[in-house]
Symmetry: C2
Subunit: 328 residues, 2 copies
Amino acid sequence: MKVKIDSLKVAARQAILNQGYNPDDAEIILEIIMYAQLRGNNQNVIKLIGAGLPANPNAGDIRVVKDTKLSAVIDGAWNQGMVVVTQATRMAIEKAKAHGFGIVGTHKTNSATGAIGYYARWIANEGLIGFVFSGSGEYMAMYGSYEPFFGTNPLAIGIPTSDNPIVFDMATAAIAYYGIVSAKTAGEPIPEGVAYDSEGNITTDPAKALAGAIKAFGGYKGAALALIVELLTRPLVGTSRNTDGTKEDWGNLVFAVDPELLADDLESFKEGVSDLIARLKDRKKLPDVDEILAPGERGDKFYEQVMATGEIELDDGLWQALQAIAGN
Amino acid sequence: MKVKIDSLKVAARQAILNQGYNPDDAEIILEIIMYAQLRGNNQNVIKLIGAGLPANPNAGDIRVVKDTKLSAVIDGAWNQGMVVVTQATRMAIEKAKAHGFGIVGTHKTNSATGAIGYYARWIANEGLIGFVFSGSGEYMAMYGSYEPFFGTNPLAIGIPTSDNPIVFDMATAAIAYYGIVSAKTAGEPIPEGVAYDSEGNITTDPAKALAGAIKAFGGYKGAALALIVELLTRPLVGTSRNTDGTKEDWGNLVFAVDPELLADDLESFKEGVSDLIARLKDRKKLPDVDEILAPGERGDKFYEQVMATGEIELDDGLWQALQAIAGN
């Protein structure tokens, strides 16, 4: 069904507030969830139903526990991941604008950070090159193993252009955790070759995959990249383990680089990027391809389309569930 | 056949000198080529035969054309890529040691940079986290295209541990350019699904692949990562195009991050990384897997094995060709 974006936003805001957040935090979470929703990304309002995103009753005050000219470490004090990474991104941008480079790590959160392309795009919109890495629980296996050890370990990179920024946002997992959850809810199989059951057999049964482990994308290379994300979001940012060896908290890392450290000036850098992208899009296409898409472009097109109509297509059940949580 | 490492090194050094390099540059090139050779990496002495690595007669003096506290841009003046990236790596390390972060780009080279894990490992051995990106000519197509536009666009990441560093060194291409050249020389097909012919058909014929384009690894994600490498090694570092649109020069980007910007101290960071790797290697293995390998570990094992015997297995024809170039 079609839902007015304004109505969806009102319901989503109330659904977030009803999960225990103060208005400031709710507004941050709403913005990041709506970013995903309006770009056709799966980190959307579906996150608010089912188990939802309940605020942690033990959440305290977010504290900056290390602060240097170029860097900071943030203790998230069990606040929601999007709220903590938003603060990390703001600090990384401030430091990079002042000194050319800013790097901020976070620990002591164990909740979703949403579509991390959001933070990378924000950094790029400030005229900086952004890198974002996000850790989570035990979902994905290393190459050669079938035991969950990594999070789905997304990374996002944002690069300014003369127009919309390039925003590359990918899980290093072969399938998003939410993709498996959605398949289970819908009673559908997951694609062949993306997950193991708990015995190490490849499975297309989402329930068995949830009890097993997700594979990395792209074979050994993808798994090695997942490991790099794991190292950058754990020992580097000071996360901890429980006594049984599982992760006590999840880490995140954001860094921003001023392109003027290398390029003559921001404008000429942006022009150079836009020029390269224009030439890329002009290359010979395979027979079944209408357009060569740069990272982020599919989401931009989706956004323009839904904003033009003011409405968005939503699953009936999802809309009803969201309204119920919002108390409508 | 087995060749003594010392003999191989003597022949390789002479082969490099005979291609027009001064002794200092030859020693740098030798070290990087031998790094690959002694770790089972394909960027090895095979690069010295056939077309080889002839010094560019137009090479001038390498110049630092931009220099800030955290950054530099190097004009390679058509010197050999390994020589120029070695200087970039040295500068990135110095800046990161002094200020926490160092980023150095290079332009005006158009020759091989070798196994770029070499530079990432060097940075990690200095107690820093290293990122290296290397551009080259038109070999790889963007997702949806079959026209070569990207280089094979490798990236390497080095992370210190209490033991050997983690060194992740991968081409974003589905197959190395040298892999196709080697297959053609051997009269063998290339694997299915890694390259297009000039008409956009998937081909296993190496000659047709050389006239066509290599695919990126890992589908759209791998291609997007290749594009990021392209952007970081072209507009950011100031490369140029010829009037026909092809690349005049190839760029490189090296950056180093001091882990103490975030972690308590280098030793605890190294211990945290080693601890995570030990736990990773201890996960449940798939039936056909003897050992879960961390990035760089296969090369380390190869290195230890050949250094223990002082000899290395080399193709007869390759050894003869190398000796011929060395004038033996």
